[in-house]
């Protein structure tokens, strides 16, 4: 039984950042844009949280500044895609590059070296009342409510309908007085908030450390979860959870099978499962490929 609790804790630890990233991807996805900048914005969130904790010694200040900076970068991404009509895939990769290069640059110009920074404390933990789960951060416990509230927002509210209209049929959105461009801006801002939480949880949830390039594809995996989950908040959260279960199982297998299979090859498991997930989603839906531009341009 104790083993089971440990397993669940490991899944929640590795799954929560992925789920937050997937939620950010979902809301932007529903507004009609493929959010490939998740990776970059996540690493910015992680970096700002840790630097904030180290410099100001206050968790609240750190997380707030992470949220603000992530929202600013998201707005930048929205601006380039929406207003400058740039290709959203390349822009997403550019944002990822800005995240990885920019955080390395910031760390090196503030601390003078690229070594990992460790913070004295991280996100507040839930405490001893939760028994074996006492080491988990509060963001893990907020996560189900975040999924639920995003579900309400996207599928049970007027705003959600308008957002979906902006993504699927901008003309319809415009005909009821909703500006698709503004809808996307709001989606990107909410996405920035979730990316900041994802980064914060990844860096300060259990390790309290920021290392170069520590996101290591989790943002892209979160994005794949969006596709696997069909753009539905709950489905995508489950897809993200599934990817993290696979990666935890991969790590467990290293302990038991380490002598038979190289652990580097076992580390491939989550990426392979991601590809399989996308493939299944494509089989189910016919296709998963994007238009290279927001649908705004298609309906003209």
């Amino acid at each position: 039984m104790i083993e089971f609790h440990e397993f669940l804790v490991a899944i929640l630890r590795s799954g929560t950042p992925l789920i937050y990233a997937a939620l950010a991807g979902v809301i932007v996805h529903r507004s009609g844009v493929w959010h490939l900048g998740l990776e970059g914005i996540m690493i910015i969130g992680a970096c700002v949280t840790i630097i904030g904790i180290v410099l100001t010694n206050s968790f609240i200040v750190a997380i707030l500044s992470a949220i603000i900076i992530c929202i600013i970068v998201s707005i930048l991404q929205w601006f380039v895609i929406e207003k400058l009509k740039a290709n959203q895939i390349i822009v997403g990769l550019g944002i990822t590059g800005i995240g990885i290069g920019g955080t390395a640059f910031a760390v090196e110009s503030i601390f003078g070296s690229l070594a990992a920074i460790s913070a004295p404390f991280g996100i507040p933990r839930v405490g001893d009342t939760f028994g074996p789960y006492s080491g988990l951060s509060i963001l893990v416990f907020i996560m189900p409510f975040a999924v639920l509230s995003l579900w309400v927002l996207l599928l049970r509210s007027r705003f959600g309908l308008r957002l979906a209209a902006a993504g699927e049929h901008p003309f319809a959105a415009r005909s009821v007085g909703a500006n698709p461009s503004i809808m996307r801006l709001i989606a990107f801002c909410v996405g920035g908030l979730f990316c900041a939480l994802a980064g914060a949880e990844l860096a300060a949830g259990s390790l309290q450390i920021f290392a170069q390039n520590m996101v290591a594809g989790r943002g892209f995996m979160g994005f794949a979860a969006v596709i696997f989950g069909g753009g539905h908040p709950v489905g995508s959260a489950f897809a993200a959870m599934f990817f993290s279960i696979v990666s935890v199982v991969g790590i467990r297998m290293q302990i038991h099978l380490g002598n038979f299979v190289s652990h580097d090859l076992l580390l491939c498991l989550p990426y392979i499962v991601t590809v399989l997930g996308i493939w299944i989603a494509a089989r189910a839906k016919g296709r998963t490929n994007s238009a290279s531009q927001p649908s705004e341009l298609r309906d003209q």
């Binding site: 380039v80 640059f105 493939w279 490929n289």
Partner: protein, 347 residues
């Protein structure tokens, strides 16, 4: 003529814009932007022997970027150049391992063919998934990069690990000198000849074959292609194979040329930079040569940045990323202004 001038001026304008943005960021961070750009220019192009050092990075970038351009031109965002590059070098290193006794004249071409095959196969499965099942190639090629990176780590720290190494960086054994086609400088007649022949072949494929014409039609207007009788899955598969082949070739050149061995996680930004090179050149081969030289120069200058200006090497990554962010933007200020006014009256 107007379009041709625009193709040259547009990327230059974006590079200038990125330079200004970066300069502002560097000034805010407390570095002297003027000093920094001076030393980049010096390190990349003007200093003594700096052009040779730039070429060392520009040649493999050019080879990979020609391939990236061919698949982007066809409308497929094959961003797996990094993984194909790694798989090329891994396949080539296996050939050298199993044929270490054979003559170099046999081993080197075989190694390169193996590298090209490895790269092509590594690009073939995302391509097949895309064309057969409609699985988006952006995610699959991204994931293929991570998988190839881990395979590289596995090969260099497992079966082919150089046991005599210091253990700092996992790598394979250094090739004996008769298997090398250049010294550590990375510029030799053989490599230059291979690069030029890749360039000429790429140019011929794009400009003088029906594949080139139809594939650029496929990228711009798939519906039109259908009525022209082009087969998208044929074109797509070939463009995936060519781009993987060239990335793999560039990986094997890295092994036989400047590096002489395969190091775990080497050149981690190669694929991304090659994509940038292709985008800046708008996928044209001649433009690719110039933009490869530019980005190769930047890379070579970046290695010396910390020494001269105290600026971290990641500054160049930031600069490249800002170019990537802006390069596909359609900013035509005058026209945009006009169009907005028109479209308002139509709304």
């Amino acid at each position: 003529m107007n379009g041709k001038i625009e193709i040259i001026i547009r990327p230059l304008a974006f590079i200038l814009l990125a330079t200004i943005l970066c300069g502002i960021i560097f000034e805010i961070a407390g570095f002297s932007a003027i000093l920094m750009f001076n030393s980049i220019l010096d390190g990349a192009f003007l200093g003594s022997r700096s052009l040779e050092k730039s070429l060392r990075w520009a040649l493999p970038l050019f080879i990979t970027a020609v391939g990236v351009g061919i698949s982007f031109r066809c409308g497929f965002f094959n961003i797996g150049a990094q993984g194909q590059f790694y798989m090329g070098s891994v396949c080539a290193v296996y050939v050298t391992e199993y044929m270490s006794g054979a003559n170099a004249v046999i081993v080197i071409p075989l190694g390169m063919i193996a590298g090209m095959t490895g790269g092509a196969l590594w690009s073939l499965w995302p391509g097949y998934l895309k064309l057969r099942y409609g699985v988006d190639e952006v995610i699959t090629t991204l994931m293929s990069n991570f998988i190839a990176g881990l395979i590289l780590v596995y090969v260099t720290s497992g079966p082919l690990k150089d046991q005599s190494g210091s253990g700092q960086q996992a790598s394979t054994k250094i090739l004996p000198s008769e298997f090398r086609i250049s010294d550590a400088s990375g510029v030799s007649l053989t490599i230059i000849l291979i690069t030029i022949s890749v360039g000429i072949t790429g140019w011929l494929i794009i400009n003088r074959t029906s594949f080139g014409t139809l594939s650029s039609l496929a990228g711009r207007n798939p519906t039109m292609l259908k009525y022209q009788g082009g087969k998208i899955w044929q074109l797509g598969l070939v463009s995936f194979i060519i781009s993987g082949m060239l990335a793999g070739l560039s990986g094997s050149i890295e092994l036989f040329g400047p590096s002489g061995r395969v190091v775990s996680g080497f050149l981690p930004t190669h694929g991304f930079t090659a994509i940038l090179v292709a985008l800046v050149a708008s996928y044209a081969v001649i433009g690719t040569a110039f933009s490869a030289l530019f980005f190769g120069g930047l890379f070579s200058a970046a290695l010396f940045l910390p020494i001269f200006t105290g600026l971290p090497t990641s500054a160049i990554d930031l600069f490249n990323a800002i170019i990537a962010l802006l390069i596909t933007a359609r900013i035509t200020l005058g026209k945009k202004f006009l169009r907005n006014r028109w479209s308002h009256s139509h709304d």
